[in-house]
Symmetry: C2
Subunit: 403 residues, 2 copies
Amino acid sequence: MPGDSMDKPNTVTCTAPVNIAVIKYWGKRNEELILPINSSLSVTLHQDQLKTTTTVATSRSFQEDRIWLNGKEEDITHPRLQSCLREIRRLARKRRNDGDPALDSMGFSHKVHICSINDFPTAAGLASSAAGFACLVYTLSRVFDVEGELSGIARQGSGSACRSMYGGFVQWIMGQKDDGKDSLAQQVAPETHWPELRVLVLVVSFAERKPVGSTSGMQTSVQTSRLLKHRAESVVPGRMVKMIEAVQRKDFTAFAELTMKDSNQFHATCLDTYPPIFYLSSVSQQVINLVHRYNRHYGETRVAYTFDAGPNAVIYMLQQHVPEFVQAVQHFFPPESNGGQFVKGLPVNHVALSEELRRSIGLEPLPKGISYVISTKVGPGPCVVEDPTQHLLGSDGLPKETV
Amino acid sequence: MPGDSMDKPNTVTCTAPVNIAVIKYWGKRNEELILPINSSLSVTLHQDQLKTTTTVATSRSFQEDRIWLNGKEEDITHPRLQSCLREIRRLARKRRNDGDPALDSMGFSHKVHICSINDFPTAAGLASSAAGFACLVYTLSRVFDVEGELSGIARQGSGSACRSMYGGFVQWIMGQKDDGKDSLAQQVAPETHWPELRVLVLVVSFAERKPVGSTSGMQTSVQTSRLLKHRAESVVPGRMVKMIEAVQRKDFTAFAELTMKDSNQFHATCLDTYPPIFYLSSVSQQVINLVHRYNRHYGETRVAYTFDAGPNAVIYMLQQHVPEFVQAVQHFFPPESNGGQFVKGLPVNHVALSEELRRSIGLEPLPKGISYVISTKVGPGPCVVEDPTQHLLGSDGLPKETV
C-alpha cells in the first residue's frame, strides 16, 4: 500500500475507537512506562458513533516531525508522543536489521506529519486520549509496516489507549515486569460476541467545577489513598476473574452489578484521596439513583452505569430495554425543548413511559441536567481507511482545508 | 437529692452534649448490643450552644412508663429505649441486693415518666440521638442513684451516645467481647485540655434528596463494602493511636489532617456501598474545596472539616483563625440578606476579608448554600440541673405547658 516516490508522501489514514472501562484503571506503579497498579477491563464502543481519525504521512522532503490535533498544530516534543514515535521506529528498524532489505523503502528514517481529529465533542468528556493514542500507534504501524503486539506502545501514549487497540471486550493485564513488557491488552471476546448489549452515553450539562485531570489525580490517589492500595491489591484481581466470566457467559446481571460496584469503588478511592477528588456531579448522582430505582421497580438488574474521571454516565443494557430507559432519562432530565435532538447515534424507538414506572422511580425531574444521549453498541478495533479522499493530510503533507 | 414522699414524684433534670466524631464510627458487628466494627474518637461540643435536656420522674402513682420527646408523646416500647431502662433498673436492683437497705426508697420498682427536648433544630442534622440517649441514661442514673460505668448502657440506646457521656475528647473503644462489656467510652483529655480549639457547625440549606438513615446505611455498608471492612480492620487502629497522640500533644495540623482524611474515608465507604449512599451534597463539596483552598493559601492546615451522615459541615480550628474563616464562609455562601443572624452561639469578631485571599480561593459563590453557622467550643459531659424550676415535668408528672 504505501507509496514510494521521491516527492509524494507515503500517507495512511486509520480510525480507532473509544473504550469504556467496567473494571477501572486508576493509579500507576511506573509513571514513565505507564504501568498500572491493577488490571482493568473495558468495552470497545462502535466507531460509527465515536471515533478518532488519524492520517500519518512520511516523506523524504519533511524537515521535522509535526502534529495537528483537531485542526491545531501541537507540540510534537510531548514526552508521550515521543515515546510512541520512538517505539514504532525502533520496531521498524529492528525489522530491517532482522534482514528484509525491501523494507529500506518504507522511509522510517523519514520525518512524519500526523493529523488527527475526534468526531465527538470534547464536552462529551470521553477519554479522547485513549482513542487518540490508539489511532496514532495503529496508523504509524501501518505507515511503517510494523506488525505484532502494539498495545504496549499505545499504553506508553496513554494507559487506557492499549485497550482501544482491540474491539469487543478487552482486558489490560497489568503485568509484573519492571520494563512493562508484559503489561499488555488482550481481547476477552470479540465485538460479535454479545450483539444484544447496547451502550448509552449520557452527556451531562456542565455547570460545576473543573475536574482534576486523571494523570495528576491518579498520582495523588496512589500517594494518599489507603483504600486504593487495598482495592488494587485485594479487590480487583477477584473482580477481573468474575468480570471475564460474566462477559464470556453473557450474564448481564453479573456484568451490570460488577460494573456499577467497580465504578462506585473507583469514585470512593477518589474521595479517599487527600485532598479528595469529586468527579460525580449532582446530576451523576441523580443518574445513579435513577438506575437503581429503575432496576428496583423491575426486581432485576436491567441497567448499569459507569463513570470515568468526569460527570458523564455510560449506561450498559440489553437492546430490548433501551427505548423505555431512554424515555425515563428524558422524563427525569427534561431537555431544552428548542435544543437539537436529544438522542444521537443508533435510532431508538419511542415508547410511552408508564405512570406506574414514573411513580415508582419518584425522583424530582432535573431540567437540562443531561445535554444529549449517544446511543451506540460494542464495536471493532482500529481500522485502515482505504479511501484516499479521506486522508486528513493533502499531497503536500499539510492538513487539508476542510479539517 | 431525690425526694421520697408518697405522692410527689422524685424528679431529676439533666443535660447532655452533642459529640462530633473525628475518627468515624460506621458499621456494627452486633446489631442488638450495638457493638462497632472499629473504635472511634470524638469531640464533645459545649452545652451552652447545643444540648439535650431530659427530666425523669418516678412515682409510686405512675401507672406505666411514658416518654415525651420535643413535646410529643412517643412509643416507650422502642427496643433501644427498653434496653436503656432495663439496664439501669438492673444496676439499681444489683446495688440494692448488694446490701444498701437505704436504697429501697429510690423507687426503682416504680414507673418512670421521661420528658426530653433538644435546644437545636433537627434541621441542624446533628446526631440528636447521641445527646438524647446520653441524657436519658445519665438522668435515669441520677434518679435511681446508680453510679459507675454508664457508657455501655448509653451505647445500647445509640452507639455514639456512649461518647456523649464524657466531656472533652472521648474514645469509644470497640472492645473484643461478644457480650460487649468491654465496648465502652473513655475520656482521652478533658474539656479544659485544649482551650484554643473552636468548632463551627455549618448548617447546609436543604434542597436535595432525603438521606439514608444511619442504622440501615451502616447495615448495607457492612454487607456490601469491601473498603469498609479494610478500613475497620487495617486503617482505623493506626489512626486511633495517631489521633490520641495529636490530641494529647495539641498538634492541630496532625489533628486536622487526620480528621479530614477520616471524614473522607467514611464517605468513600458510603460510596463503595451497594447501592451507593451519598451524604455529601454539592454544598458540602464546596465547603471541602473552600477549606482546602483556604489552607493552601496559607501554606498550612488552619481549618479542618468533618461530615457525618448528612450534608452539614463541622469545622475545627484554632480560635485566632475563626473571624477570618467565618468571613470567608459568609463570602462564598452569601446568606439571605433579610434572614436572621448568620452566626449563632459564641460571638465572632468581624474582620475584613482580603482581596488576595478571596482571589486565591477563587470559588464561585453559592448563594444561600449555608443557612447559618453555630459557633461553639469543646465542652463538658452530662450535668445535673439543680434548679427545680427547670424541670420539664410538673409535680403531676406530666410535661409542663411551656414545653
